[in-house]
């Protein structure tokens, strides 16, 4: 919209600022709470300026965790979450880009059937098939392991579908040109298709990383060993101590730490995102 009226300018900015405040204020409060004494948050008056307890809260959570609440050190849980989110994101992309490649570029019997079977699983997220999936994972002896945490979440129709749609917009001549240039299917995949899809891969990576990072239900089911707790699970456990005043400073410190990796991923991938949006040429 090309409008040059100062009033509209001011109005749009006001709306935008209001939006930013709505999103950012709770985050700010969480951070402030993590820098105060445990009691500061429950006094009824919300402190809005940082306190002096920051290093204690973060130090304690990072090094030893909170024994009373049954929470291991945050770095351990962060590590677990990171492994889980990365494995899910990379695994999903690897599997779905290959299956989309097969479906779009090869003519094999029951190709469309294969596609529809993959597509139908869109209707069956983990939450729906959680009991049978749990049974399978348990029988395979994968409880309390990274494999058990990640494998059931890797298979993904969404990503396969997205890659399929994208591959169908890649001009067929690229494939033909590379055939004339003497590239076999996998060489074409590696040399042409992967580089061309890089912005899509980046976008999916961000989405899938966050999807893996915020998983709660599945880790809750398959992990009983503290060594495999993820950060989201840890936050819940910190809050669940029923017979005690919750240690809000520690909880909020953990929350703040838990927010950092996804934020970093978005920040670093943002450049590729924008490139993917502005680059129309294929």
């Amino acid at each position: 919209m090309v409008e040059n009226r100062p009033f509209l300018n001011i109005l749009t900015h006001l709306v935008l600022i209001a939006g930013v405040l709505v999103v950012a204020f709770p985050v700010y409060v969480a951070f402030i709470a993590s820098t105060h004494e445990p009691s500061a948050f429950v006094r009824g008056v919300l402190p809005l300026l940082p306190g002096d307890n920051m290093f204690e809260s973060y130090g304690q959570m990072l090094s030893s965790g909170w024994k009373v609440g049954g929470t291991p050190p945050v770095w351990l849980m962060l590590g677990n979450s990171l492994i889980m989110a990365l494995t899910i994101a990379i695994g999903k992309i690897a599997i779905s880009i290959l299956s989309a490649f097969a479906i779009v570029y090869f003519r094999f019997p029951f190709r469309m059937l294969a596609f529809w079977i993959i597509f139908i699983t869109l209707m069956l997220p983990v939450e729906v098939r959680i009991i049978p999936t749990y049974a399978v994972v348990a029988n395979l002896g994968m409880l309390n392991s990274y494999a058990g945490l990640t494998l059931p979440l890797i298979a993904s129709a969404t990503a396969t579908f997205l890659f399929r749609q994208f591959f169908m917009t890649v001009p067929e001549e690229l494939m033909e040109a590379s055939r004339v240039d003497g590239a076999g299917p996998m060489k074409f995949f590696k040399d042409i298709l992967l580089p061309v899809s890089i912005t899509n891969i980046a976008a999916l990576f961000v989405i899938m990383f966050i999807y893996g990072w915020v998983q709660y239900l599945w880790p809750l089911l398959v992990t009983t060993d503290e060594d495999f707790y993820t950060i989201v699970l840890g936050i819940k456990r910190l809050m669940a101590s029923s017979d005690r005043v919750p240690a809000w400073n520690l909880i909020m410190a953990t929350v703040t730490l838990a927010m950092l990796p996804p934020v970093l991923v978005v920040l670093f991938m943002q450049r590729l995102f924008v490139k993917g949006l502005t680059e129309t040429e294929k």
Partner: protein
């Protein structure tokens, strides 16, 4: 370099769709052959069958002395220039040119030498480090040609390479392609739907219609003696006028119609063979009404309707004659200008 021989080449798609219905064609070593025809005539399919991008349903395809029916495109020793260039968008121009050589296991210095040579020939040396999206249409076209050149293949295949360019650039690139082919003497097969491009580029033309060859010959042969009404209508612009013989027979002096071959019921007359002034040789005189006058600079097109008939007809004259729309025009046609056809078979009668 090699000859290309097509023997009874056929392509049938599922559902009994016959895209190419038995093509016999021998392309000599170093020859520039243009496949031309309206869209859907099977010309692109035929080219893609030669390239190996489309399977061959029946017949034999030879490049040189080798039967290549079942070979992969890369094994056929051909290079192809695509309509939309199909440059690899993430690679620099240099790598676009080098990719095919790398895949064939060429050594780095040799690749470098060949790429530089091709780039010099096409005057794209200064763009070698750029990505394709930073190039203009004409430059991309050159890069696409360069990708074919570096391979030094037995044959070039062009699939409507100029149709994405603007008119001016198209003429320029057309000349360059012709010159390049003359210089390299590489056997070339070129597909286009543009009859002007076909006429100017090809050593020989192959006019296709509905998956079959209508006529093969040099451009001038085809222009001077179209073998069928289809070819007559397709080659030459504006298209040849078709007039029923019966109509001409009612127009006065008709002696010169008597020696038309038997079976003739339609006569084709090129728009430039309709004169506004009477020639010295025996001629027909036809009256018509001028409906539209189109001045195109060096020449003019007169859209007329024949007297006592609905027949729309085009006349091409050089310069700009002093005529007004709506006035009655007489034009004159000599015997040499008449192309005799039979409208039932669509073929030339003699």
């Amino acid at each position: 370099m090699a000859s290309i021989t097509l023997e009874g080449l056929r392509k049938t798609y599922a559902g009994d769709v016959h895209a190419v219905k038995g093509i016999d064609l021998a392309i000599e070593d170093g020859e520039f052959v243009v496949l031309v025809g309206p869209s859907g005539c099977g010309k692109s399919t035929l080219l893609r069958m030669v390239a190996g991008l489309e399977t061959i349903t029946g017949g034999t395809l030879k490049i040189g002395d080798r039967v290549v029916n079942k070979l992969e495109p890369a094994e056929r020793d051909i290079a192809m220039v695509f309509q939309n260039y199909a440059l690899y968008p993430h690679m620099t121009v240099y790598n676009n040119l080098a990719y095919g050589l790398k895949n064939r296991g060429f050594k780095k210095p040799e690749i470098e030498e060949r790429v530089r040579k091709a780039a010099k020939m096409l005057e794209i040396e200064e763009y070698l480090e750029r990505k394709p999206r930073k190039l203009s249409g004409g430059q991309r076209q050159r890069v696409a040609m360069g990708r074919a050149l570096v391979r030094e293949p037995a044959a070039f295949l062009f699939d409507e390479p100029l149709s994405n360019l603007d008119a001016k650039l198209r003429v320029q690139m057309r000349v360059e392609i012709k010159q390049l082919q003359r210089r390299l003497k590489t056997t070339s097969l070129y597909v286009t739907h543009d009859q002007l491009e076909a006429m100017t580029l090809g050593d020989r033309l192959v006019v296709l219609s509905a998956g079959k060859i209508e006529q093969v010959g040099t451009p001038m042969e085809i222009y001077a003696r179209p073998a069928s009404m289809f070819v007559a209508g397709f080659i030459g612009s504006p298209a040849m006028n078709m007039v029923p013989l019966e109509y001409l027979q009612t127009r006065g002096t008709t002696d010169l119609l008597n020696d038309l071959p038997p079976g003739t019921d339609t006569v084709g007359i090129r728009p430039d063979d309709m004169r506004l002034s009477p020639p010295n040789t025996p001629h027909l005189i036809v009256e018509s009404t001028l409906e539209l006058f189109e001045a195109a600079g060096a020449e003019s097109h007169l859209y007329v309707r024949l007297a006592d008939s609905d027949q729309p007809t085009v006349i091409r004259v050089s310069g700009q004659p002093p005529v007004n729309e709506g006035e009655t025009l007489r034009f004159f046609v000599t015997r040499e200008a008449l192309h005799p056809f039979n409208s039932a078979t669509g073929l030339r009668t003699g």
